[in-house]
């Protein structure tokens, strides 16, 4: 299984639409795209996870890294459109408390 990353940009707002799986194999690819976006002050990075069926802890680690980077660099990171299975691991790990996660299931347009 693979991960597809579709990126759209309007001014300083970047939306990443992810499809597939985020695991130990695909996580580096996500990191490569997402992390630099969170490193620029003022950037708004929205990640749409409605196409993700599976995420493992390595994948989760990429989001933890991105969260830390956005705090350190004054950018913002929002997640939206989580499927139940993905939502569960964000809840168990307590990350729903510290991350900006939009409720609502499917990601609407910007």
């Amino acid at each position: 299984m693979n991960l597809q990353i579709n990126q759209e940009q309007i001014n300083e707002t970047y939306e990443l639409n992810l499809t597939g799986e985020v695991d130990a194999y695909t996580a580096p690819k996500l990191k490569e795209v997402m992390l630099p976006l969170t490193e620029k002050e003022g950037n708004i990075v929205i990640v749409n996870l409605s196409g993700i069926e599976y995420m493992d802890s390595t994948g989760l680690g990429i989001f933890v890294g991105a969260l830390k980077s956005s705090k350190a660099n004054n950018s913002s990171l929002k997640l939206r459109g989580m499927t139940e299975r993905v939502k569960r691991i964000f809840e168990i790990t307590g990350l729903t408390e510290v991350m900006d996660i939009e409720s609502g299931v499917k990601g609407e347009a910007l």
Binding site: S57, G61, V64, G65, I92, T93, G94, V98
Partner: protein, 335 residues
């Protein structure tokens, strides 16, 4: 005949056949021959000198300019020769480092493994199996005074960083004063240590609990760890052992909620890593209810037998291909 002579002869054969027939097949043979050269560690300038030698044999009347041009080429290849030898020595070093690292990491892991303690009131069973060579799951039992503390952790990230992280946790836990053995305080302490010391992509999920035999109370707290189960014998039911809290290593100021449970005779505390519930079969994921029904199936056996049987069945369901590290611990109150 030395290996080098054999190579020269072979090269001469291939070259003369090519010069006569000029076919694709003989060209391809030349390409294959280069693999043999690499195997024998022939450097680029050695190959040029071999070429000169062969050309001298094949064309004794070669023009002087042609002959000299080869000598010039030989000099021009020297740099490549250095690069080639450097590459080789780096590759050797890298292989050596890799195997040393592997040995060190697995040695450390063995050292960190906790023995399953003998504890009068509790029947304890543990199974912890890595998906790859290195186990990212960690468990630890500590007897302190009369009480028994148990920790299960999942370290996200692999290899050296994870192995180092594991020992950091162990030593941080061992060096905490006894009054801080309260699970929620222990997690707060560890969180500060972890947050300062790990890479930003890394984090640790942990469940920590302490059983006090006088009061029969189990005190516990969780840092983003997969919930375990509590089996309440009187009601004959399994409940989720929920202990909410943020994973270790994300935010310095995180605090953890203290939980406690009364443990009666026959009750079980079941702790696990997410490898247990994230088991994937051809039909999809194993749900928590299925894990519970497996435990139920074997729960009249001693704890060690329960965990082993559950592991074997889940392993079989996954086609004997563990995707994630697997840890399952059962504590059953006997008296």
């Amino acid at each position: 005949m030395t290996a080098k002579d054999a190579l020269t002869e072979r090269y001469q054969d291939l070259l003369s056949v090519y010069l006569k027939a000029k076919t694709e097949t003989t060209l391809y043979k030349g390409q294959q021959f280069s693999r043999k050269l690499l195997e024998q560690q022939i450097s680029p300038e050695d190959l040029v000198s071999l070429h000169i030698q062969v050309m001298d044999e094949l064309f004794p009347d070669m023009s002087e300019e042609m002959r000299d041009s080869f000598d010039f080429l030989l000099e021009a290849m020297i740099g490549y020769g250095f690069a080639y030898r450097e590459h080789q020595s780096l590759r050797d070093k890298q292989q050596q480092l890799e195997s040393e690292i592997e040995v060190a990491a697995s040695m450390q892991q063995t050292l960190l493994l906790s023995d399953v303690p003998e504890f009068e009131q509790l029947d304890i069973g543990v199974v912890s199996v890595p998906a790859k060579k290195m186990n990212g799951d960690y468990y630890n039992f500590v007897k302190s005074g009369n009480s028994l503390s148990v920790a299960v952790a999942d370290i996200i990230g692999k290899g050296i960083p994870a192995a180092l992280c594991m020992s950091m946790i162990k030593y941080a836990m061992d060096s905490l004063p006894e009054e801080q053995m309260k699970p929620h305080l222990l997690l707060e302490n560890l969180n500060r240590v972890v947050e300062q010391n790990v890479h930003s992509n890394m984090f640790i999920t942990m469940f920590h609990g302490v059983y006090e035999p006088e009061s029969h109370k189990f005190y516990y707290a969780g840092a983003g760890h997969e919930p375990g189960f509590f089996y309440h014998a009187k009601e004959d039911e399994f409940q989720d052992l929920i202990a909410k809290g943020l994973v270790l290593g994300v935010s310095r100021t995180t605090t953890y909620h203290p939980y406690e449970k009364m443990i009666e005779v026959g009750d079980m505390v079941i702790l696990l890593s997410d490898g247990v519930t994230e088991c994937r079969t051809s039909k999809g994921f194993i749900e928590r209810e299925e894990v519970v029904s497996l435990i139920r199936k074997y729960m009249d056996l001693p704890s060690q037998k329960i965990v082993e049987n559950v592991f074997q069945e889940l392993d079989r369901l996954q086609g004997f291909e563990l995707r994630d590290d697997f840890t399952l611990i059962i504590l059953k109150r006997l008296v």
